[in-house]
Symmetry: C2
């Protein structure tokens, strides 16, 4: 049975932005205390042995909060660590491969950036669990990302999608209320928490903005 999940405040944990392994654990603890509802580990600059060590140290922290930990891109790290799932992009291993390798209980998210990708995703049935739509705004975090969809574009993707859809790309506290107008299931943030002077407060402020915007 696949666990329930809550996309409302989706932390993409980038250990380079956080400042390393230990700092990433601190950011995760703080963000969870501040209200993060799901954590994705994404460390594109890191070798897999370092990913695995961090994933293994993160799991007791996320589990203590009853929050899933998903791994960006690398199914093998998810399998090795016993993480709760993966998040794959359009050029990563296909979602059906992820489902086959990870099994029926894994949480699987897929990035989409346009109507065509949502249409393809909509045909995947319960192969996937949620979508990540964006980038909403231009962002320096992912240099290979698609063109920004903007808030109106995001709203169109969210209404087209048959899955809960989290918004990603350039989301910060100041634009969070605007992004919520597009009715995503939640907001995914990277630097807004990983680079915050106080990640707990940053998460709590985002959480409050999201709660205010929810119907």
């Amino acid at each position: 049975m696949r666990p329930a999940f809550d996309l409302s405040l989706y932390l993409v944990l980038d250990p380079v932005q956080c400042g390393g392994h230990e700092a990433s654990l601190d950011v995760a603890r703080a963000a969870l205390a501040g209200g993060a509802s799901i954590v994705q580990l994404r460390a594109p600059e890191w070798h897999k042995r370092a990913w695995l060590a961090l994933a293994r140290d993160l799991l007791p922290i996320t589990r203590a909060h009853g929050v899933p930990l998903v791994i960006n891109d690398h199914l093998d790290i998810a399998l090795a660590a016993g993480a709760d799932g993966v998040h794959v992009g359009q050029r990563d291993l296909p979602a059906d491969v992820a489902r086959r390798l990870l099994g029926p209980d894994a949480l699987i998210g897929l990035s989409v950036s346009d109507a065509r990708e949502v249409a393809v995703a909509n045909a995947l049935g319960d192969t996937i669990d949620y979508l990540g739509a964006g980038p909403v705004f231009a962002t320096p975090t992912k240099t290979d990302a698609s063109a920004p969809c903007g808030i109106d574009g995001l709203a169109a993707l969210c209404s087209q999608a048959r899955y809960p859809t989290v918004a990603i790309g350039g989301i910060q506290l100041h634009n969070a209320p605007d992004v919520m107008r597009a009715r995503p299931a939640g907001l995914a943030v990277v630097s807004a928490i990983c680079k915050a002077a106080n990640p707990r407060d940053a998460a709590a402020h985002l959480r409050a903005a999201i709660t205010r915007a929810q119907p």
Copy 2:
């Protein structure tokens, strides 16, 4: 039962050096016709969906020659494609994780660059099947590689190792006889075949040099 394998002419297939997906298939066919005895797919610049497509197209080719196909680093691609095994480095997922995820029949190789790494590898028992030792010479292919060990250093690593050990790093036809003096189980080449004007001839000339040097 783990299949027999022959490290003598070990092709590291780099699809960027080959010139893309189709060109890589052509290089693989030619190298196998010329005497390559094992193929590793390594595409550090590529996204995983492209790796998977290439691995799936390579497998019927390597299987037709009775030669194993191993995947560099990414266990998930090996699992998804049904490849014969993986080759992992010191910063990739640990060999025991690879063995656990891939099962007893997979071929697992591990890169080593110094006596300490060989000593650790020697304690792994049948978790691994072979070692890749090097770089023998400086090489532009792997910019994050360790310092070159040279031929004397390679000889020391090969005699210390409890596993068949293939030499890698800067090996070309002109230095192949010298490298074989270190008594490796074989020579791993990248550009010497992938960038050759005639990959079949390049493989055949390397094969001849290796055969002449073997006791």
